[in-house]
């Protein structure tokens, strides 16, 4: 795992001091709330319905047990005993007091963490593949490249007041586990003629105008990676729309100019910037890489004892093939049936930290699906791990099933919400669990947002649910056929919306259609793609 040197630590410490100073000036009345707002936002502090929310950055979703323990302690010390893991591979706390914020940031800085650039119109925390460095199917570990970009994007002097927020994802496998093409910039590390380089996709996003990022460059040599990213951002900073915040994301610029024209402008800027010598020395990447070297794997058993059916089910559902055949990556589901997706108590967070230390070389990952990964678990240790997880109420065997729902905070917390997301998620998972249908349905990605901002990725759900406001009543639109993976697509709306009871029933109805029509080995999404919307519509609206 990456470790700060004194330079990195000094940068974070400087920022904590800067924020203390900003908070002081706010309290002394030298800053108006309007002037203070973007500053607190850049430090991850959001004002929500009932309290402040603090977002903590987890660069590329990777953290160690000491950091995870600190996150659990913060939940107990400053929040109401909970932390909420989010689709941005971050954690946020929903009940923060403004006067505690600087102390929390100082606690975080002690474990090399911060809340820098987790909101505001700047380059946000960079996301990546949650199985990076562990999976069998990657070209290289994408995280050294993400780390290089983390440094470049931190406190970037030119790109701190962009037209809108800016999200970057980096992956290095054909399989996309990071929703790469739904980011402002998606980077795929690829190999061409024996050389490693970066493929750039620009202009993806969700929100009210979902778009899939087009590829604008199939290969950027590694010693020009930062320069190329800088060119992409500069064109956006200069020409992205600032007249309308709903049209300010880079996806709109790319769409309005056309991918070709945007690319032309980037290439021109890139050619210019190459002459400016802004690329970090190539040795820097070589310095970063060893931080992500393999831990000392050992050969061991490759099979588990399946005599306990509950354990066997969990192994089948929640463990994923590893590059070393005596290991797996184990997913800790934060989706217990009827629970709040992504929530964990301070105690549970510390338990996960302890288990990571004991069974996974001290490493954890946050998934964009709001679950936690122990990336390197010995197959021989799985039973012991599962036993402890189960005891801590962390053993739900439901990865990628209909119970593994992504849901945004919705009306329970969020000031922008039209409708509740959490209760809908709870009811749907309870419904399928009670009817014991989860297993039968197989992989089914259900995603819920409480408003058009799409924090819950509903556009990318095999089944998506969007909360809308219908004459002052909570109403839910259903959509089908989205995917955030390598087969990326945007979901289509089925038709008129439903009330809460209605949407829970509607989800069941569409799964019935799937079961009726599915052919061998088809997932819900595959069946939908083969048979189209009509049979689903027919069943829903008759």
């Amino acid at each position: 795992m990456y470790k700060y040197d004194h330079y990195d630590q000094a940068m974070v410490d400087a920022r904590v001091e800067e924020f203390r100073d900003q908070a002081r000036r706010r309290l002394e009345g030298k800053l108006t709330e309007d002037q203070f707002k973007p500053l607190r936002l850049m430090n991850g502090l959001y004002l929500q319905l009932h309290a402040y929310m603090l977002r903590v950055a987890i660069p590329y979703g990777t953290l160690n047990s000491r950091q995870m323990t600190a996150l659990g302690d913060i939940a107990d010390k400053y929040d109401r005993g909970y932390g909420h893991f989010t689709t941005r591979q971050n954690i946020q706390y929903n009940w923060i007091k403004l006067e505690d914020a600087a102390d929390i940031l100082a606690d975080l800085a002690k474990v090399e963490m911060h809340a820098i650039q987790t909101s505001g119109n700047c380059i946000r925390n960079i996301s990546s593949d949650h199985f990076a460095g562990a999976t069998y199917d990657e070209l290289v570990d994408p995280r050294p490249y993400a780390e290089l970009l983390r440094q470049w994007s931190s406190f970037h002097p030119e790109f701190t007041y962009l037209p809108r927020k800016f999200k970057i994802a980096v992956i290095a496998a054909e399989k996309d586990r990071a929703a790469m093409r739904l980011h402002d910039i998606g980077i795929q590390i690829v190999e061409q003629n024996g050389e490693i380089g970066a493929r750039f996709f620009v202009g993806g996003g969700m929100g009210r105008t979902p778009m899939i990022a087009p590829m604008i460059r199939d290969f950027v040599p590694l010693d020009q990676l930062v320069t190329y990213a800088e060119a992409c951002l500069r064109v956006y900073n200069r020409y992205g729309r600032r007249d309308n915040k709903y049209k300010a994301r880079i996806k709109i610029l790319v769409h309005e100019l056309g991918a070709e024209e945007y690319t032309r402008q980037v290439e021109e800027e890139f050619a210019h910037l190459l002459g400016q010598g802004i690329e970090p020395p190539r040795d820097e990447l070589e310095r970063i890489k060893p931080f992500f070297a393999d831990p000392p794997f050992e050969d061991g058993p490759k099979m588990v004892d399946r005599s306990d059916p509950d354990f066997a089910l969990w192994v089948d559902r929640n463990t994923v093939r590893h590059k070393h055949n005596s290991y797996v990556s184990a997913v800790i589901s934060l989706k217990p049936v009827g629970g709040i997706p992504g929530d964990a108590t301070g105690e549970q967070i510390r338990t996960m930290a302890r288990l990571a230390k004991q069974y996974s070389f001290d490493e954890l990952r946050v998934m964009h699906t709001q679950n936690i990964v122990l990336p390197h678990v010995k197959i021989a240790d799985l039973h012991a791990l599962w036993t402890e997880l189960d005891a801590a109420d962390l053993g739900a065997p439901n990865l990628d099933t209909v119970e593994d729902i992504i849901a945004c905070p919705g009306l329970d917390y969020c000031a922008l919400a039209n409708a509740r997301s959490i209760t809908v998620a709870q009811r749907i998972s309870e419904n399928f669990a009670a009817k014991r249908r989860t297993e039968e349905l197989g992989e089914l990605k259900l995603k819920i947002s409480g408003c058009i901002n799409a924090c819950g990725h509903h556009h990318a759900g095999h089944i998506g649910i969007l909360g809308v406001d219908k004459k002052g009543k909570e109403n839910y639109q259903l959509s089908l056929g989205g995917s955030e993976a390598e087969d990326v697509s945007l979901a289509k709306i089925t038709g008129p919306g439903f009330d809460e009871d209605g949407v829970v029933q509607a989800v069941e109805t569409v799964t019935d259609v799937y079961l009726k029509h599915r052919e061998d080995g088809e997932r819900f999404l595959d069946t939908y793609r083969r048979i189209g919307m009509d049979p689903f519509k027919e069943a829903l609206y008759g």
Partner: protein
């Protein structure tokens, strides 16, 4: 037509140059391109800084206006001018606040004329925010990555 948007030099609150303050009014970017003798120009957020590149030799002052601090186009304008070799005064004017100073300085601004004068102590601290920096920018400071590999 009067294109003069002049400000008196005493409104400049912070200046990191030793030369004489240019005391003539600025003209708009359009006027500057038409008018062969203008030596001071003012860039608005929507202007393309690159059209000034052919005239940089004769310019002694370029003001970049920030009508609202949230509009960050002026940061790119500043860097582009410095990258093109401009060495005259580059002045940030308008909604310039404490917390933008360190980034503006890095982008090549060397004079600051905020609409509302800033607290001198706060500003001093703000200019000194970063002991070291992660990116190469107009200030040409050696980056952390370069320092690591000396």
């Amino acid at each position: 037509m009067d294109n003069s948007l002049g400000r008196s030099p005493d409104e400049v609150q912070f200046r990191f140059r030793d030369d004489e303050v240019a005391d003539h009014g600025t003209v708009t970017v359009d006027a500057c391109c038409d008018q062969t003798n203008a030596t001071a120009v003012r860039i608005e957020p929507g202007d393309d800084a690159r059209v000034l590149v052919p005239f940089l030799d004769r310019l002694a002052l370029i003001e970049v206006n920030f009508p609202a601090y949230t509009d960050g186009r002026g940061y790119s304008a500043a860097r582009i001018l410095r990258e093109a070799g401009y060495t005259g005064e580059l002045r940030a004017v308008g909604d310039v606040l404490i917390d933008q100073l360190s980034h503006m300085r890095r982008c090549g601004f060397d004079a600051f004329a905020p609409d509302t004068p800033l607290d001198e102590e706060d500003a001093k601290r703000a200019f000194a925010t970063w002991d070291n920096v992660y990116q190469s920018a107009a200030d040409r400071r050696r980056t952390i990555q370069e320092l690591r590999h000396e």
